[in-house]
């Protein structure tokens, strides 16, 4: 019994550690490290997002997408010409597919989307 009492007393003594005088400074150092790590992580995520976006954009540009979309645009023109005969309101289709501007808008959206997705994935990791 005395053995158990002593062991309990010992556990209490270990648990009741006194507050060290520089406890606040220690907590501040840990918080700074946490914040530094967080900032570094945000930079890393941002850099990874930009990198992923650039790679994605270059893939889009390199895959002759412009020509493909333009040919699709031509097809759409043919289609819309047919549709125009059915209803005059279908003219918006031809205006939408005219020129390569839409390709660049799509590329920009792809970059943003890929960057965002990559950032989320890294953040979840």
């Amino acid at each position: 019994m005395a053995e158990v009492d002593f062991e309990r007393r010992l556990e209490r003594l270990f648990a009741d550690a006194p507050e060290l005088p520089d406890a606040a400074a220690f907590a501040g150092r840990v918080e700074r490290r946490l914040n530094t790590g967080w900032t570094a992580r945000r930079w890393l995520i941002g850099a990874a997002g930009v990198g992923g976006g650039i790679i994605g954009a270059s893939q889009i540009v390199m895959s002759n997408l412009v020509q493909r979309v333009e040919s699709a645009g031509d097809s759409a023109k043919v289609l819309s010409a047919g549709l125009t005969q059915i209803t005059p309101r279908a003219e918006w289709l031809t205006s939408l597919y005219s020129g390569g501007a839409v390709v660049w808008i799509a590329s920009a959206l792809a970059i943003v989307a890929m960057g965002f997705a990559l950032s989320r994935v890294i953040e979840e990791l």
């Binding site: 002593f6 062991e7 007393r9 010992l10 556990e11 209490r12 003594l13 270990f14 648990a15 009741d16 550690a17 006194p18 507050e19 060290l20 406890a23 606040a24 220690f26 907590a27 150092r29 840990v30 918080e31 490290r33 946490l34 914040n35 790590g37 967080w38």
Partner: protein, 194 residues
């Protein structure tokens, strides 16, 4: 606004703070560090770490705890959980420095002369721990300071279970002799200062 948030955080229970910290709320975790930093540092010093080394390991332990906060399920106390992380990190550091093997020694010499000369040290826990051999000190601290079982301590130390048990037994005998020499009446009010 920030002050009000800080006040609200300070009034929360450890488990609630852990929940907030799990969502990335670093201020909540900072409050946990303020509450338990001293006890973690004291534990490491009691294991035999020098103060600066204890502070380094304690910092690493809290950072590790923040990164793994979702692993803490509220079984046991947050302080106990961080202490176990800190103890294991300290043992890893000893292993890197190839000093872990010293703990297996059956009776490494403790500085008895220095301890005996200090009347105060003879009756507080920190002083009494100094009278223990390094292996006894670490084993007793692991088992009574972090709540590890003998088997868990043996695994953490990479020592045979029997060695840990004998270290603990000898350590307890020495502590009992030092902490309660005449009934131990003064024990509770005279704790070490880390």
């Amino acid at each position: 606004m920030a002050g009000a948030t800080q006040l609200r955080i300070a009034s929360l229970h450890d488990v609630e703070l852990c929940g907030l910290a799990a969502t990335g709320e670093r201020r909540a975790f900072g409050e946990l560090v303020r509450r338990h930093g001293s006890s973690v540092r004291a534990l490491l010093r009691r294991m035999g770490a020098q103060p600066s080394q204890a502070d380094d390991v304690a910092q690493d332990a809290f950072i590790t705890a923040f990164e793994r906060i979702t692993d803490f399920r509220g079984e046991g106390t947050f302080a106990g959980w961080v202490k176990r992380i800190a103890a294991r990190l300290y043992l890893k550091r000893l292993q890197r420095e190839r000093r872990l093997g010293e703990l297996a020694a059956e009776s490494a010499p403790a500085d008895e002369g220095q301890v005996a000369a200090d009347a105060e040290a003879a009756i507080d826990l920190d002083g009494a721990l100094k009278a223990l051999a390094p292996g006894e000190r670490v084993c007793v601290t692991l088992c009574f300071g972090t709540g590890l079982s003998h088997a868990e301590a043996a695994e953490a130390l990479n020592l045979p279970l029997g060695t840990v048990k004998s270290h603990v037994k000898r350590g307890l005998d020495k502590l009992r002799a030092r902490l309660a020499p005449a009934g131990g009446a003064s024990l509770e009010g005279r704790r070490g200062n880390g």
